[in-house]
């Protein structure tokens, strides 16, 4: 399946909804979207990955790049993911220590707003 991207604003947070496969072919589109959102002043992002079917290290790199960009503006980039097959690659690479990974978009927003 190809990659589908959508985004909307919720509680001062930009929610990026990703569906499909994030790999070396499709990851540039996600990277462009994240860069565009940051350039437009969105510094608090939540990437909803509940409908992601495949994620490789290329996709991880794009997420890391997005995280670095929002952090440069004191922003945040959190993830929503409950799929074990996707979480596994975050564990293997040690990136569970880097990203906030939550069970729902609302939980991610609430956690950030409580900080």
């Amino acid at each position: 399946m190809d990659l589908k991207l959508d985004h909307h604003t919720q509680d001062d947070t930009e929610i990026v909804v990703v569906e499909g496969e994030i790999d070396v072919y499709t990851a540039p589109r996600l990277r462009e979207l994240l860069i565009d959102l940051v350039n437009k002043g969105n510094f608090h992002l939540v990437v909803n990955m509940e409908k992601v079917e495949f994620l490789d290290s290329t996709g991880l790199g794009v997420l890391v790049g997005g995280l670095k960009r929002v952090r440069a503006h004191d922003g945040t980039l959190d993830l929503v993911c409950t799929q074990e097959r996707i979480l596994k690659i975050f564990r293997i690479t040690g990136l569970t220590k880097v990203f906030g990974i939550y069970d729902s978009v609302q939980e991610a927003i609430d956690k950030r707003q409580s900080k």
Partner: protein, 182 residues
């Protein structure tokens, strides 16, 4: 031994094709369902790394994948000799395995010998500079392969790199079951 060979151009779009092919052949070989996701991801990582390397060094040359069901070797040997199943070895690997070999033609540099803290990549993968699409080092992909495959060897040469990955065959192969029965 049953062999499926796939040759792809060094284009990102074909990495998905390689993943799908590897998963299909692995399923046919009798790999446990739980390991199919690992194979899909590991093959994707190996092919992504190869595609990125080819795009830098030799974009016109293809990348080759060998998908090998080593269970058949044992079965054939057993049938001819009449001896009990023997765990023959190939390149130091036991038989009864599903092996994926990815050959690329890009001149290799030695991969990092240790990859202890992948998160440390964050400090060096800053924005534009990149060895690929992601901004992460290709060694991250190799680290993922090491974390996923049951056995891995990465052989860098002047004229390319050979990544061998293998997994034990499970017991979900209906053909294997039928052979045991009758």
């Amino acid at each position: 031994m049953a062999l499926v060979q796939l040759t792809i151009s060094a284009l990102p779009a074909h990495v998905r094709t390689a993943r799908l092919m590897a998963t299909a052949v692995a399923r046919r070989a009798g790999i446990a369902e739980s390991a199919l996701d690992e194979i899909r991801l590991a093959v994707g990582e190996a092919c992504s790394r190869a595609v990125e390397a080819h795009r830098v060094h030799c974009p016109g040359r293809p990348i080759q994948l060998d998908l090998i069901d080593r269970a058949d070797t044992t079965r054939e040997a057993d049938a001819s000799s009449g001896k009990p199943a023997e765990r023959a070895s190939h390149n130091g690997k036991a038989a009864q395995r599903f092996e994926v070999v990815v050959f690329d033609c890009a001149p290799a540099k030695e991969p990092a010998t240790a990859f202890e803290d992948p998160a440390a990549e964050l400090d060096i993968a800053d924005g534009a500079p990149s060895d690929g699409v992601s901004g992460l080092s290709p060694d991250v992909g190799l680290a993922v392969i090491l974390g996923l495959a049951d056995e891995v060897s990465i052989e860098p040469h002047e004229d390319g790199t050979v990544v061998r990955m293998s997994w034990p065959l499970g017991k979900s192969d209906p053909d294997a079951d039928s052979e045991l029965v009758g």
